[in-house]
Amino acid sequence: MFGRRTPANDLADEFWANVQPGEVLLRAQGITKRFPGGVVANDHIDFEIRAQEVHALLGENGAGKTTLMSILFGLLQPDEGEIYLRGHPVRFSSPQDAIRYGIGMVHQHRKLVPAHTVLENILLGHPKARGVLNVREAAEEVAAIAEMYGFNLDLYARVWQLTEGEKQAVEIVKALYRGAHILIMDEPTSALTPVETDRLLEAIERMTANNLGVVPFITHKMPIIFRISDRVTILRRGRVVATLPTRDTNERELAQLLVGREVLFDIQKPPATPGDVVVEVEHVTARNDKGGLALNDVSFSLRAGQVLGVAGVAGNGQHELAEVLAGLRPVEHGRIRFLGRDITTASVLERWQLGIGYTPAERTEVGSIGDFTLVENVTLNYFWDERYVQNGLLNEKKLRALTESIIETYQVVTPSPDVKAKTLSGGNLQKVIMGRVLSRQPKLVIANLPAQGLDIGATEFVQRRLLDARAAGAAVILISEDLDEILMLSDIIAPMYEGRIVQLIPAEQADKETIGAMIAGGRTRANA
């Protein structure tokens, strides 16, 4: 019942009484974690968080961020090292322990139940929610917290109806309602619009004013570090490279510390040589899985040798656009033409055969089959191709040779083409998928989030292959949430907001601020 004080709450309340500004809330000392196979994910990491401080952790994929985060939240236990809370050594054997000690976590991939209401999500696992739920009392308490931090939440809305920013707010309120004094945030601004980002920054300010400590983990969105944090710690290959006051550093220095060498931020893109029109999309409308309008009257056309950069925050129709073009999602109204031919109702297979190649964002679930070998995965795009199938029989020798050539050209790190795809790392898997699709020399390439989650080296590699396809005369549709990537690779930019292309902008006239505003609020250039 509500109103009964439970031990879990007492612990947090007593433990966190009288926090002084600037006091060290959490100190991690010599944290080391080894994984089977000899990988040292965390190598003697020292790290501390003070009250009223935002201390950012910066590191590439594979630098050990996730491991450290999991250790701080009790999902993993360190092999060596200690964690001190206000000077007391503590051990977390589960997230429950960490939560009881006042550590809150805001996940990048939101840990919320989509089918449940906001309030149910916040109450889930709360020590006060025992037995018959007293919804009204809980709602009042939660609403008070939300208001205190400037969040406007509809407690009875279903989570799947919310925007990314609202979902994040639910996670924050949930952690605070459970009495968090240290808030760990994984990629806090990754899926937010600029407006939502501003709101988040304000909430963080209010938290620090309340003596909380905030730890954002960031991969490479460096500008946000300067807006958000007081100190920054850089991780590389499992070690702390440096801890610096944010005001004493700059983006270039951070990038260098992050990668360990000087980083050049752009790829040289040769000038465009547009050819014939490859694809024409005319007033296309389509629905998402929930039946809502995902694409609303989308039109564009693209020529050979051009890259169309579809920019936008996740969930604004880019994903559905890719699926509609690949034939995986039906078109409700409108028409799609490919090389002059109407393919609106053509099957997926017909589109592959005509020369449309799609690399999906879901690499393990859609783009590949984990239990298939690499040869079998390459076969996914060849099982119907007469050059590789005779009388219904697959030509294994040729398929193996093709796979080997893809492995070589794309520098896939693998012991053999006969290993299962699930043993590959994300970057290598993406290279196999890219290599397989591009080996068909498609006339239209649809690349959905091609570099997401890859390290800098693999990202650059993948981006170069897309430019190679463009140089070879393919039309490329690049879907990305990273505006820098869009600006760097595109010839035409299509910012999307709520299922519409706000405006088609030639790359040479585009700037980051305008595009950023368009994907956030649907403003067109005219009234920007």
């Binding site: 939560i99 919320l112 089918a115 449940h116 889930l124 018959v132 949930k174």
Partner: protein
């Protein structure tokens, strides 16, 4: 005619017990396609115990216990060992079918005891079944335990980081579901059809499973579905009440099974799914593996 309706409600009562158990199980994310096997065990062991000891109570207790035990087994396979839930459920079904055929055949024939008393012509357990539906609905919707069960079924990773033990909840749901299925089986063999025969359950467990899909995971709709199927079943046994002489009695027996398929098709159509399809627990059938 009244007797017909009372019998229909009693058939519905058995579908309800088995179905509610499976429903709770599925709300917690565990699919048990072996309900038929558990019911066969509950029915056969309950029948044998009651026949040899003459005690109905003992028969029901054994039915519930063996059901709970098989539920535990399914939980052990699918939660702890993370065996594919369909494989495990199929295993329990064939296990139940094989073993009960062997041990039951020596007891082929009627129970030969005085029938259990009734209230207004209905088994008292009918009222228990209705009450159970209400209680399960309330617990699932209005309490923290229900919230935990639903969360584990929708998104076990979320429940886990919120401090809920996925394993504990799934074990509890599966054992509860097994116990109810075992009880439903015992009720079938000790009250509804007290004559042991080769495979005498005739697919009731599979119909109960289909009822859960049909109910959109809502216990109240499940009760409605159970009454519909109870009536259909009685009708298939006594077709002369409705359309005498239309088909042979054998063809009438196919009707409940045909309707089950039709209902499954209906709820699988895009038209139905886009309106009411959101209720399916999202993690149904997925073993939870901590990252």
């Amino acid at each position: 005619m009244l007797a017909f309706f009372l019998r229909s409600l009693e058939a519905a009562m058995i579908f309800t017990f088995a179905g509610v158990g499976e429903l709770v199980d599925q709300r917690g994310g565990v699919l048990n396609v072996g309900v038929e096997g558990i019911m066969l065990f509950g029915a056969t062991l309950g029948f044998i115990v009651t026949k040899t000891t003459g005690s109905y109570t003992l028969g029901f207790v054994v039915g519930v216990l063996v059901g709970a035990l098989l539920g535990l087994l399914h939980a052990f396979f699918s939660v702890t060992l993370r065996v594919d839930q369909v494989v495990s459920g199929m295993g329990i079904w064939i296990f139940g079918f094989g073993i009960t055929t062997y041990i039951g055949s020596a007891y082929t024939g009627p129970l030969g005891l005085e029938r259990l008393p009734t209230i207004g012509g209905l088994s008292p357990f009918f009222f228990v079944a209705v009450a159970l539906v209400g209680v399960v609905w309330f617990v699932l919707d209005k309490t923290s335990w229900g919230l935990a069960v639903r969360s584990v079924g929708e998104a076990p990773d979320v429940a886990d980081v919120s401090g809920i033990s996925v394993t504990r909840i799934r074990y509890a749901c599966t054992i509860f579901g097994g116990a109810l299925a075992g009880f439903a089986g015992a009720l079938y063999a000790l009250y509804y059809n007290p004559v042991w025969n080769y495979n005498f359950l005739m697919g009731w467990g599979f119909i109960a499973l289909a009822l859960v899909f049909f109910s959109m995971w809502n216990p109240i709709l499940l009760l409605g579905g159970a009454i519909l199927f109870g009536t259909l079943w009685q009708l298939s046994l006594n077709p002369e009440l409705l359309l005498p002489g239309l088909f042979s009695r054998y063809i009438w027996r196919t009707v409940p099974f045909i309707v089950t398929i039709l209902v499954l098709v209906l709820i699988s159509t895009d038209w139905f799914r886009s309106r009411w399809g959101g209720a399916r627990p999202q993690a149904l059938g997925e073993p939870y593996v901590k990252e």
